[in-house]
Amino acid sequence: MLDIYKAKTIITMNPSLPRAEAIAIADGQIVQVGRLSDMEPLMASREHVIHAQFANDVMTPGLIDPHLHPAMAAVILPMEFITAMEWRLPWATIPATTTPQAYDERLQALIAAHPPGELLIAWGHHELWHGEMSRARINQFSSELPIVIWNRSFHELCMNDAALNMLGINAAAIGQREQIDLERGRFFEVGLSYAIGKLNPIILAPEWFERGMQRLVQVVHFGGQTTVGDMAVGIFDFATEMATQQKIIEEAQAPFRVELIPHSAALSRGRTADEVADFIDTLPTTNGHRLRYAKRVKLFADGAFFSGLAQLLPPGYLDGHQGEWLVTPPELEQAVRRYWQRNYQIHVHVTGDLGLELVLDILSLMQDEKPRIDHGFTIEHFGLSTPEQVSRAARLGARVSANIYYLHELSDIFAKQWVGQERAEQMGRIGSCFREGITTTLHSDFTMAPAQPLNSMWVAVNRINCEGNVMGPNERISPEQALRAVTINAATVLGCENEIGSLRAGKKADITVLGADPLTVDPITIKDIPIKATLFEGQVFPIQPITDPQ
């Protein structure tokens, strides 16, 4: 059986045939792309159906987010959202809540709709918009329902009496503590870890985690994605993560595949480094249809960009604080060597320019020790860099997977507080990456940024930050480069470029159907292009327009 889909236009991302009007699919694989009339010999010899349902739409290769974290999403997505920014989620659009009064009203509405006795966690509180949070403030809305208010940054939470009772947290158990303010019900830093320890039996329970994973499936589909990379399998608990993905993604036949990249350090519990590598070697033998390992591994260099823990070259952070290393440089070198020698594709989390300097030094050393050409070594996140580092990365054959959303959300505050305007404008230096010929992709690191490749493209093309200012116009990329980034380049970075990432005969029939052409619309509207459906291996999965705000 041959299925032929007509479209207004098909953007193939195959440079030899960039545009087409029809695509013929059999058994989940593309048989032919081109003009409908050129498919006549094919149609003459095979039973076929010509579908016109997307005849007025635009097709692109199935969009790919090569770096997100399903396990983190599974913990967070079952929470309620009360946020200062609008969040478009598949099950609802969360409206922007921008005053303390509006916050309290929305919280009361959520309480009224919540099953009695069941813990309610509301994420997204921001003091600047919503006013100070306290135990007394939550108590006035409910003394019976256990409620936890989690700060937008995840760095602090606040509970009411019922939640404290439920979790067995009381003055006798706590004593006087700097980072637990029991009177106000506030927990931060070490106190936050303590509170999370008490919440873990609930938020890591199978039913919570599975509900979150089901929501993640909706989020990924809603973003028009047909492949994602789980860029740190084991980040919570390897066995739980795999069992849940097996059930919710593989067995329930989710409309996308997950390329799995193990977090080697998280697998080290009770194993030597070599035993971990041996174990990772065996993982591809467990591959299913949608969940797949390959010779890929994730390593970490410096700290989180959002938290100001990236390691910076001089002049560093202007307020004098320091970044952090997640591992000592000699240990990182040893870990890279272990997997380089085993011919792995190595993905390194690196956020600051000093972190990048170290990673490039190590890559250079590896090239001296054992030259490899098509090694796929990938710089993950790519917050701050220098132009010279971009050239050097190109010479060493490295790839770049950038969280371009940093520029949107953080460049304003980084300019004012941490690194100054010049360096803030040049975070996510991806225009230079394209000029140097580096294979460059974009990712969300969801839940760090929305899992919407069109949104990542929009930031990369326009470089508009949250204050509406254009940051680093010379580092903008074209819509065509941006689409390349989230299709064929993302596939290449995951090592799957022969199967997915463009539309040509022989590839998997993974397609995203859009309501407008991302290469010809006004670039400022790219993020608002409607996503109508995805095809995963030839099967159509429509995307329902989002429902009204709650």
Binding site: A173, I174, G175, R177, E178, Q179, I180, E189, V190, G191, S193, Y194, I196, G197, A266, S268, R269, G270, R271, T272, A273, Q311, Q322, E324, W325, L326, V327, T328, P329, P330, E331, L354, E357, L358
Partner: protein, 303 residues
């Protein structure tokens, strides 16, 4: 409350070496969180039980491998009845970050933060473009520095070391040879030590070459002035520390380093469980006469 001690320091500073010795020497059940089991050198005969990332030893000690969740490890350890916890921080950890657990985790109190300093490499690490700032911060954030590998200093490094020695205000040498039980005791429970002069020789902490310790249990009241006078008239005392109580039942914490004497009055205690005891570290060539410590107040105040 379980006392929590932090052992920090950069790669190769000797943290695991110290933990290995501690595990073997411990006479009481302690909990030790380490970075990597693989680095430990535990005799198989000493392992009673092994489950996942936890080892139970025949001497009652429990050793667990740290993952990201230090708090979970502290909860597990607290439920086992151990009497104190020692955390071997990772080579990139800031001591303050780990110490915050001692201050904030319910059921625990911070005992002390040690940063180990590898004398043979410290200059190189401080100059390193990647970790120079980290290593300096690790040293700044310690309550006390423990210097290791002095015997590995070559002539060139010796010059560096004399520079470092000037720069460091408070440090002890951790000898590479076997630590005695008493030395370990001094490192990991100094606040509990009830020393007497008779024990002074063995209870002397890890000492610098040519330094000895003189201790007193300080059971009799001692005036603050007499302490100051003793230290002023005995400049060969390089370091002193401990608690004492004066005739009016006020308790003081003494810290004396680099000829600076600091006396801090302690909050009034509800019960009578005062921990008194003083340790004086001084050059062995000159004896220290503690008989001048009296209850007597001097007429002229000293600073």
């Amino acid at each position: 409350m379980i006392p929590l001690t932090v052992i920090a320091g950069y790669l190769g500073a000797g943290k695991t070496h110290l933990v290995n010795r501690l595990l073997k020497a411990s006479k009481e059940p302690i909990g030790i969180c380490v970075n990597d089991f693989g680095e430990l050198n535990i005799d198989a005969a000493l392992i009673q039980n092994s489950r996942g990332t936890t080892l139970e030893l025949t001497n009652g000690c429990i050793c667990c491998q740290l993952n990201d969740d230090l708090g979970a490890a502290l909860e597990d350890l607290a439920s086992t009845g151990i009497t104190r916890v020692i955390i071997e921080a990772s080579g990139v950890a800031l001591p303050e970050k780990i110490a915050a657990y001692g201050r904030n985790w319910p059921g625990y109190q911070l005992h002390k933060t040690y940063t180990l300093v590898d004398a043979s490499n410290i200059r190189r690490w401080l100059d390193d473009k990647y970790v120079g700032a980290l290593v300096a911060t690790q040293m700044q954030q310690a309550d006390e520095l423990l210097v290791t590998k002095l015997d590995l200093l070559g002539p060139a490094n010796s010059r560096h070391w004399s520079w470092m020695r000037e720069a460091l205000k408070e440090w002890q040498v951790l000898p590479n040879g076997a630590l005695t039980d008493a030395q370990l005791q001094a490192l990991f429970a100094p606040s509990e030590v009830q020393t007497t002069e008779a024990q002074a020789a063995t209870a002397s902490p890890l000492h610098r070459p040519n330094l000895v310790a003189t201790c007193t249990a300080a059971e009799q009241p001692i005036s603050a002035d007499s302490i100051r006078r003793l230290l002023r008239t005995n400049p060969h005392v390089v370091r002193a520390k401990g608690w004492f109580t004066d005739a009016t039942q006020r308790q003081y914490l003494l810290q004396h380093v680099a000829q600076q004497t600091n006396l801090e009055q302690q909050p009034k205690q509800q019960n009578n469980s005062k921990r008194n005891g003083l340790v004086f570290l001084h050059h062995e060539s000159t004896a220290l006469d503690l008989s001048m410590l009296t209850t007597q107040h001097l007429s002229s105040p000293t600073t």
